[in-house]
């Protein structure tokens, strides 16, 4: 599922470059220009795509790494002025 979630983001990025609507002046619902309506859909699906990435590709270990005892992390730091 991780690959599917990231694949969704890639597909949306490609679809964003909707050159097939470049000169299309037709309207959706009688008031939304098609070139705008399609891009609004991209925004909505982007929200869904990121929800999928968060669900299936979340870096679960990162909090544990960040929460390591401060002393340990500070020991790791090298004094660049030394």
């Amino acid at each position: 599922m991780k690959q599917v979630a990231w694949g969704f983001v890639v597909v949306l990025t490609i679809l964003h470059f909707d050159f097939w609507y470049w000169g299309d002046r037709s309207l959706w619902f009688g008031f939304v220009p098609v070139g705008l309506g399609f891009q609004v859909l991209i925004s909505l699906f982007a929200g869904i795509a990121w929800a999928l990435v968060i669900k299936f590709a979340w870096p679960t270990h990162i909090e544990e790494w960040a929460e390591q005892p401060v002393e340990k992390a500070e020991e790791d730091l090298v004094d660049i002025d030394a």
Binding site: P33, W65, A73
Partner: protein
């Protein structure tokens, strides 16, 4: 001198007073530690992070500039600036923001420069980045203060120097009290305000024009070229504009907001809701912009940034609504200004004074006082500069974003590429800065000085100039890193999660 209108000013005054009271009351009981002042004790939750990150990334450009650009260039502006940002911003929050939050928490970093200094073991890089980042943020601040002055003058007739002063003082009042937490809280309120005001303006204007179908029909009849991208936006321009939103990866004020997060999970709501929030703000504004062209609104002096104010003035004629709109626009502006002011104060305190003298040299209280002092100085400098506004102030926004976007390879390499070296990083900043200065002069300064500015977009072979800057930056960091000695493994490994 335009007539001063009192009702809109009263509405704005009430809004500003309420904002001040809210921010000060909600932050005054907090501890006065430097961690609280600069990174809100790393305790900000999902909703506040979303609102502060979104409020910070949406400037005056989101309401005023989007309407004006759509008036000039049509509906393609949405795909150019909004939907791509929805994808790219969340990508950067996920891939860069969460990792930087983790590194910042682990090593107790407060500023971006602290991270780069330690990551590359280079003081020189810190001193080099300092003027570059501050130099790119200051025009960004100016956009806010000058934009606020122009809009208030257009709607309520107040001279810009008064508006600039009031905006600076209000923002100063709450960030001096509560630091980054106050900025986050104020951003939450202001983001809600400017989103609601945008939707309200959309509803009222469409209603006044005879409904959404009639409003668009006017465009079909009078300005049909705005209904598609043909002839208004180039294909390569559309493609290469995707580099611009990468700027969020290098905004120092956004870096500071990331560090305020309580946990990595706090980022989840921001990643998901950010593209949808962008849509809620931008789609109505883009439609208002093309509807303005459809009914023959004229931009005064060719300044399309006045289109939103003109639409409200000509269609609604209600001073209370004008006041609400003004409050919404000021909310969008101030929600960026506060974070930028706090961020610059933090950078000066930590990366210059504390770095030079040593952290043990200062007490917690002295650190907070230093931060406050620097913020006052920065606000004063910004205000004075805003009294001499450059022409085409909104054009500056894209140049600032382009500069930050071009530095994206630096932050990406720092967190994902162990082989990157300090020499590569330094060369990357120098080459990016030089390329930016050259193109900025050629694309904005020279045409403005010769009186030719303000017309067509500045493109290179049909591409956005950020493409050249980004390519120069990426190629330099890779080549110079590969040509120089790899950094010691024990130094680099500290910044990489062995499981990630």
């Amino acid at each position: 001198m335009p007539e001063i209108k009192s009702t809109p000013l009263i509405v704005v005054g009430v809004y500003l007073a309420a904002l001040l009271v809210f921010s000060i009351l909600n932050t005054r009981r907090r501890q006065g530690t430097s961690s609280e002042y600069f990174v809100a004790s790393r305790s900000i939750g999902p909703f506040l992070l979303l609102m502060s990150v979104f409020g910070t990334t949406m400037t005056a450009f989101a309401l005023v500039g989007s309407t004006g650009k759509a008036f000039d260039r049509g509906i393609g502006v949405y795909g150019l600036m909004a939907s791509m940002s929805g994808i790219v911003h969340s990508l950067v929050f996920f891939l860069v923001g969460i990792r930087l939050w983790a590194i910042g928490k682990r090593f107790n970093f407060v500023t971006q420069i602290q991270f780069f200094r330690e990551r590359f073991q280079s003081n020189a890089l810190g001193y080099l980045l300092f003027p570059v980042l501050v130099g790119l943020v200051i025009p960004y601040l100016l956009i806010g203060v000058v934009g606020a002055g122009a809009v208030v003058k257009g709607i309520a007739g107040v001279p810009p120097w008064i508006t600039g002063l009031v905006v600076c003082l209000v923002v100063l009042s709450y960030i001096l009290t509560g630091g980054v937490r106050a900025a986050a809280l104020a951003n939450a309120v202001q983001t809600i305000v400017f989103m609601l005001v945008g939707l309200l303006a959309f509803y009222l204007i469409s209603d006044k024009l005879g409904g959404v179908e009639q409003a668009t029909q006017n465009v079909v009849e009078n300005a049909p070229h705005l209904l598609s991208r043909e002839g208004t936006i180039g294909e390569l321009q559309f493609l290469t504009y995707a580099f611009v939103p990468l700027s969020v990866g290098m905004f120092p004020h956004l870096f500071q907001h990331w560090l305020t997060a309580r946990s990595a999970k706090t980022f989840r709501m921001t990643c998901v809701a950010h593209p949808i929030f962008i849509m809620i703000v931008w789609a109505p504004c883009v439609l208002i912009g093309i509807w303005a062209a459809g009914i023959g609104i004229e931009a005064p002096g060719g300044n399309s940034n006045a289109v939103l104010a003109k639409m409200v003035g000509s269609q609604l004629k209600d001073p209370f609504i004008s006041g609400l709109l003004l409050a919404g626009i000021l909310a969008a502006i101030m929600s960026s200004l506060d974070s930028q002011f706090v961020c610059l104060g933090t950078i000066f305190t930590h990366d210059i004074v504390v770095h030079a003298k040593g952290e043990d040299h200062f007490s917690e209280k002295q650190l907070v006082s230093l931060g406050r002092g620097f913020i006052i100085v920065i606000v004063a400098i910004t205000y004075v500069l805003s009294l001499f506004p450059p022409p085409n102030v909104f054009d500056l926004a894209v140049w600032c974003f382009s500069g930050f976007g071009s530095l994206f390879p630096l932050v990406f390499a720092a967190i994902y590429w162990k082989r990157v070296t300090a020499a590569g990083a330094i060369a990357c900043v120098i080459v990016t800065g030089a390329t930016w200065l050259w193109l900025f002069y050629d694309g904005l300064i020279a045409p403005t000085m010769s009186g030719e500015g303000g017309g067509e977009d500045y493109l290179i072979a049909g591409m956005m100039p950020v493409t050249i800057m980004f390519a120069a930056s990426a190629v330099t960091i890779v080549l110079v890193s590969l040509m120089t000695q790899p950094p010691p493994r024990h130094v680099v490994d500290r910044f990489f999660d062995s499981k990630g």
